[in-house]
């Protein structure tokens, strides 16, 4: 199912509001999706910060998450999706989508605009290796002490094989274990 086959009948006030409040020239397109009250804003990577700032001013106040999609074979890019919803306007959701090149994944941080973005950016750094320009604390956070290797969620990296080789000595789901003897029957000395 295509996402953009909108329910375009009638005038959509929130769509108009988003169009009006985004800085002109900084975004490519704003579309209503086939889901009611969810919108997508397509932007270029350089325009992320002005667009997110404008969205916050327009009332999209609750930041939800950053998602990264690795379009490895299909297109050499990481697509980033920023989910923002508006509690003030009663629940519409905006997804800001942008693409960054796969060989040099870098994008501006928005951690000063939305506080949760700080942690979401760390998560995307460790799972995809995306560097967020201006983020002071990019490190292994969830994977701390448990992982030495390339970012595990990238498509060109066979995580299962790496884990089996590194942590399980090449064996499939079996560590070399000692067989336990069955316990003696109860009541016997």
């Amino acid at each position: 199912m295509s996402v953009a086959e909108g329910h375009a009948e009638g005038k959509d006030e929130v769509l108009e509001l988003i169009r009006r409040s985004l800085p002109p020239g900084k975004f490519k397109e704003v579309v209503a999706t086939r889901w009611p009250r969810r919108y997508i804003v397509f932007i270029d990577a350089w325009a992320l910060r002005p667009v997110m700032e404008a969205l916050k001013v327009a009332g999209f106040d609750r930041f939800i998450a950053i998602e990264a999609i690795d379009w490895y074979n299909i297109e050499p890019v990481f697509e980033l999706l920023y989910y923002v919803e508006s509690v003030k306007l009663g629940g519409p959701l905006v997804i800001v989508r942008t693409k960054i090149p796969r060989n040099n994944p870098e994008i501006d941080t928005i951690r000063d605009i939305y506080p949760l973005a700080h942690w979401q950016e760390i998560e995307n750094y460790e799972f995809f290796g995306i560097r967020f320009r201006g983020h002071p604390d990019l490190r292994l956070w969830i994977l701390e002490d448990n992982w030495e290797g390339p970012p595990p969620l990238r498509k060109d990296f066979d995580t299962v094989k790496y884990v089996l080789e590194t942590y399980y000595g090449g064996k499939k789901w079996e560590r070399p274990v000692k067989r336990r003897e069955p316990p003696p029957p109860r009541g016997e000395e």
Binding site: S2, I74, Y83, V87, R97, P115, H118, E144, N146
Partner: protein
């Protein structure tokens, strides 16, 4: 004493005051907490990658497992996202039954949290009562779905088995066993003077600040903001169900406790309305799913690929699932967006920054936020 440096200690992951598999680095000055930093990752299992390596319908088995306490809402989120991608609509009966199962999951999750809350405040009688009440719901789950904790009852396209013949009686009987215990807990624990003294005025996140901290779920509602995905973006059978969103006024730890207890009553109300509408004789509870996702129409950014999205209100707040499918038996990408991360990062930081917290208050604040640490790690 005055010039002493903050001392760092670990709280968790094996600590009765820590909410499960998560640790905090706590910096103390004397008894006062200066800073607390989350140390997640003790239960990271790589669900997003695992789901990319399994079939669409098999991933249902994985989808509830990243949160033990509230499995069905997350299962519902995944199932709805896949249905959305495949363009399949579940039959009416399946929708109603799924809503009942999800609301039961909310009740048992809140009861499980009551156990933690009683443990954190040192009220040792509460864990026993709360677990006894939860046990009734687990027995109901065993009777209806076949399992106690992870049910795998939903599937893209409906539910996997028909409901038992005496579904209505069994459901109401389970609720009637749970509710007196909840009432007792309310009388003995929530309105208790000792608990009020320990929780009132502590951990205040009040008003619009909660939104700015990107908090969600009962924490947001206790801050006084009437926001619930079941109302603002209704899914499944919530469209034509009559219920209220309980909100708090002060936004402190006690308000969060009260909001959750009132949510249990609202869930009961939802179930009582819905249970009238399902009939065991109705055999239209599952539609067949196509094996492959349909080829999608071109759309601006990424042509040829379909996407499905769902948005549900889990017991801890808004949960979303975003699935991307190329024409394949397996998903290309599954993104699980879970509600617990803001609670333990931004909200915790805000509370510690703005209040004088002692080490004794810390477990109460953490538990009153009711995080589910596994869903941070995934």
């Amino acid at each position: 004493m005055a010039e002493s440096k903050p001392r760092m200690i670990f709280l968790g992951p094996q600590h009765p005051g820590a909410p499960g598999n998560v640790a905090f680095k706590v910096w103390l000055k004397g008894e006062k907490v200066v800073k607390a930093e989350l140390v997640p990752g003790f239960l990271h299992r790589g669900f997003e990658k695992m789901m990319e390596n399994r079939w669409w319908e098999v991933d249902v088995v994985l989808s509830p497992r990243y949160c033990v306490e509230d499995p069905d809402n997350f299962e519902l989120a995944y199932v709805l996202a896949v249905e959305d991608l495949f363009g399949v609509e579940a039959p009416e009966k399946a929708k109603v039954v799924r809503t009942i199962v999800a609301e039961m999951s909310r009740i048992q999750s809140h009861l499980f949290w009551l156990m933690h809350m009683g443990g954190a405040t040192g009220a040792r009688y509460i864990p026993g009562w709360a677990m006894a009440a939860r046990e009734e719901i687990l027995k109901w789950y065993d009777y209806v779905t076949g399992h106690r904790i992870y049910h795998h009852y939903m599937t893209p396209g409906g539910i996997r088995w028909n409901i038992p013949k005496d579904f209505k009686e069994v459901t109401l009987r389970a609720l009637n066993k749970v509710m007196p215990i909840v009432k007792d807990i309310e009388d003995a624990f929530i309105n208790n003077r000792i608990l009020r003294a320990r929780t009132e005025g502590i951990g205040v996140v009040k008003g619009y600040v909660a939104v700015q901290l990107n908090a969600t779920g009962p924490t947001l509602r206790a801050a006084g903001i009437k926001y619930d995905v079941r109302k603002v973006d209704p899914y499944e059978a919530y469209r034509d169900v009559d219920f209220e969103i309980p909100t708090g006024t002060e936004g402190d730890a006690h308000d969060r406790i009260v909001v959750r207890i009132r949510e249990i009553y609202q869930s009961k109300r939802i179930i009582e309305q819905l249970v009238e509408r399902v009939k065991p004789e109705d055999l239209n509870y599952r539609v067949k799913m196509p094996l492959l996702p349909p080829p999608s129409l071109p759309w601006p950014a990424v042509a040829r690929h379909g996407e499905g999205m769902s948005r549900v209100e889990a017991a801890r707040g808004e949960a979303m699932v975003h699935v991307v499918g190329i024409k394949d038996r397996k998903p290309y990408r599954v993104k699980l967006i879970t509600p617990s991360m803001p609670l333990l990062t931004t909200v915790m930081d805000y509370i510690i920054e703005h209040e004088d917290i002692t080490i004794a208050d810390l477990p109460i604040i953490v538990m009153s936020l009711d995080p589910c640490p596994p869903d941070i790690d995934r």
